[in-house]
């Protein structure tokens, strides 16, 4: 259960009735167990992350693995019509691997687009054009992370002559590094 009062800016003045409602919500949230600063604030989404893509079980394994990792950097990107996050490959040409994600209700959702085949940390080249969805949780340092995201679309491994796989059940994680 998420506590709505945790997201309320403290500086806003409230009518007494509304304030009473917030007090009630705060009391209810005490039952959530959140009391210290790190757990009472929204997770922070920015900085260095590791993206791990895992291909669908229906895809052929390539290079002895089905999971491929990339160092990424996340920044906030826009507020209209919804807040967004931009996640790009660290220390690389902008757009080589680019995630453009909507961020609402602690869910990241949007496009995973590669411009070319990208060498993964595991070695195999990966090309992706897919839509990902994942709930954001908070790690021990207060940073946001996606521990179990779903990914639907094309994930090709092995370069231009490699194995393309268009599937609805790829998966991903996005964790601070």
């Amino acid at each position: 259960m998420r506590c709505l009062s945790k997201r309320r800016p403290a500086s806003l003045s409230l009518a007494w009735g509304a304030r009473g409602a917030w007090v009630a919500l705060a009391l209810a949230c005490a039952a959530c167990g959140g009391s210290d600063d790190s757990s009472s604030s929204a997770p922070t989404l920015s900085g260095n992350y590791e993206l791990r893509l895992t291909r669908s079980p229906s895809c052929n394994p390539v290079g002895g693995t089905t999971t491929y990792s990339f160092p990424m950097v996340m920044t906030a990107a826009g507020t209209t019509p919804y807040p967004g996050m931009q996640v790009t490959l660290d220390n690389a040409t902008p757009g080589l691997l680019e995630l453009e994600l909507k961020y609402t209700n602690f869910v990241l959702e949007g496009g995973f687009g590669a411009a070319d085949n990208i060498a993964s940390d595991e070695g195999p080249l990966v090309f992706v054009r897919a839509i990902g969805t994942g709930s954001v949780t908070k790690d021990s340092s207060g940073r946001g992370e996606v521990l179990s995201g779903s990914l639907r679309g094309l994930v090709q491994v092995g370069g231009d002559q490699g194995d393309p796989c268009n599937a609805r059940d790829h998966s991903f994680t996005l964790r601070p590094r």
Binding site: D90, L101, D116, A119, R129, Q161
Partner: protein, 398 residues
């Protein structure tokens, strides 16, 4: 950490070095610079007889450069599948106003005569199934997925593909074996003049020849007529309201056509005749979407139930459906190429069937970009699938 990038250009350069063909007609001794035509492996055999005839008839020598048409390099004319020319046309490297459909090029499965019907059984023993490599082959392999046997050998060598006992190739690259329907959508041969062509008049002359009765006759051994477009005469209504939309800030910053209201009503997108000049559509950007209310439920009837009109080439589209505007939305079709020609309209289209999602009906449809091209590359002002209209094909009976 350094990231090694392997690009298709390496393959392209190898192919070009090996396969640059000169096609001169009887007036090849003319001092006129040859007209340069660039086409990928699948279309080179299609074009060769027509280019030779054009050179003879028009007195304009031609050179066929066999490599991917994107980027067009120093070519005067580019020829390729819809998907190969999307960015060339959208970005203005080739002139959209000159683009013409030359016809459909089917995929075929080549097997020795008398092979079993099932492809797994047909590719027996240690035999390999050779498949065209590159972008076109990738799409074909992705579409067939597990239907393909494990021993697949991608290749961009036309001679190797023709010599293969088992091959999945466009008809133009098929060898002497038995040709069977591959169960894949055909390639759509599109030609256009390059915007920076050295010989724009010659380029237009060639395009006119290729679309003339004589030109089409010379292309016909491989290409089926391009006139097999679908009439937009389905009975249902069009989207009546936008209930939600989103696109990345990066796309909002760079795209010119971001008004979601443009997807409502009948298809009305048009090309205004200059680079990036359109009206009547919404470019979704990288992974963006627009959710529409059809005004009434669309039911799962015979055949497809929903049509999406998409303006540029065959940029893919993903569709989800729901019975309420808040969802839950169920995936109906994932990254479906949206390039079927529509008679009487500028926009192309693609169809979706609620049956594929296990839904009996739905009223709200989320139309999502399936191209998912990285926004930061800022290649064009129309990134993402370009949505013109959404039409119900099976409204509920009165």
């Amino acid at each position: 950490m350094s990231k090694r990038v392997v690009t298709a250009r390496r393959w392209a350069a190898l192919a070009a070095a090996a396969a640059l063909l000169a096609v001169f007609g009887s007036t090849g001794t003319s001092a006129r610079e040859p007209l340069k035509v660039r086409a990928s492996e699948a279309f080179a055999p299609v074009l060769q007889p027509a280019l030779a005839a054009f050179s003879r008839d028009a007195g304009i020598p031609t050179v066929l450069d066999v490599r991917e048409p994107d980027p067009p390099g120093d070519a005067d004319v580019v020829v390729g599948d819809d998907s190969e020319l999307t960015r060339v046309l959208e970005g203005g490297a080739a002139d959209l106003g000159t683009s013409v459909d030359l016809g459909y090029l089917p995929w075929v499965l080549v097997v020795p005569p008398g092979s079993p019907a099932d492809v797994h059984a047909a590719v027996a023993g240690d035999e390999r199934l050779y498949v065209l490599g590159g972008r076109l082959g990738r799409d074909a392999r992705a579409a067939l997925g597990r239907k393909l046997p494990a021993r697949v050998q991608p290749s961009r060598d036309a001679a190797e593909l023709r010599a293969a006992r088992y091959a999945l190739v466009p008809r133009s690259l098929a060898g002497p074996g038995e040709q069977r329907d591959a169960g894949l959508p055909p390639l759509v041969a599109v030609a256009a003049a390059v915007s920076a062509a050295r010989d724009p008049a010659g380029a237009r002359q060639l395009l006119a020849f290729l679309t003339s009765p004589r030109g089409r006759s010379l292309l016909s051994p491989y290409l089926s007529p391009a006139g097999a477009s679908t009439e937009a005469t389905a009975t249902g209504g069009y989207a009546v309201a936008v209930v939600d939309w989103w696109m990345p800030q990066c796309s909002l910053d760079s795209n010119w056509y971001t008004d979601p209201q443009k997807v409502l009503g009948p298809p009305d997108a048009v090309y205004l005749g200059y680079k990036d000049g359109y009206t009547g559509m919404m470019s979704l950007g990288e992974g963006g979407y627009v959710t529409v209310d059809m005004g009434t439920s669309v039911v799962d009837g015979t055949g497809p139930d929903l049509r999406v009109f998409q303006t540029t080439s065959n940029e893919p589209v993903t569709v989800y459906a729901a019975t309420s505007p808040q969802g839950p939305f169920t995936l109906v079709g994932l990254r479906i190429p949206c390039g079927h020609r529509t008679q009487g309209y500028f926009s192309n289209h693609c169809d979706f069937d609620l049956h594929d999602a296990g839904l009996a009906q739905a009223r709200y449809f989320k139309i999502e970009d399936g191209e998912i091209y990285p926004c930061l590359l800022r290649g064009t002002n129309t990134e993402g699938a370009d949505i013109d209209a959404v039409q119900a094909l099976n409204p509920p009976p009165l």
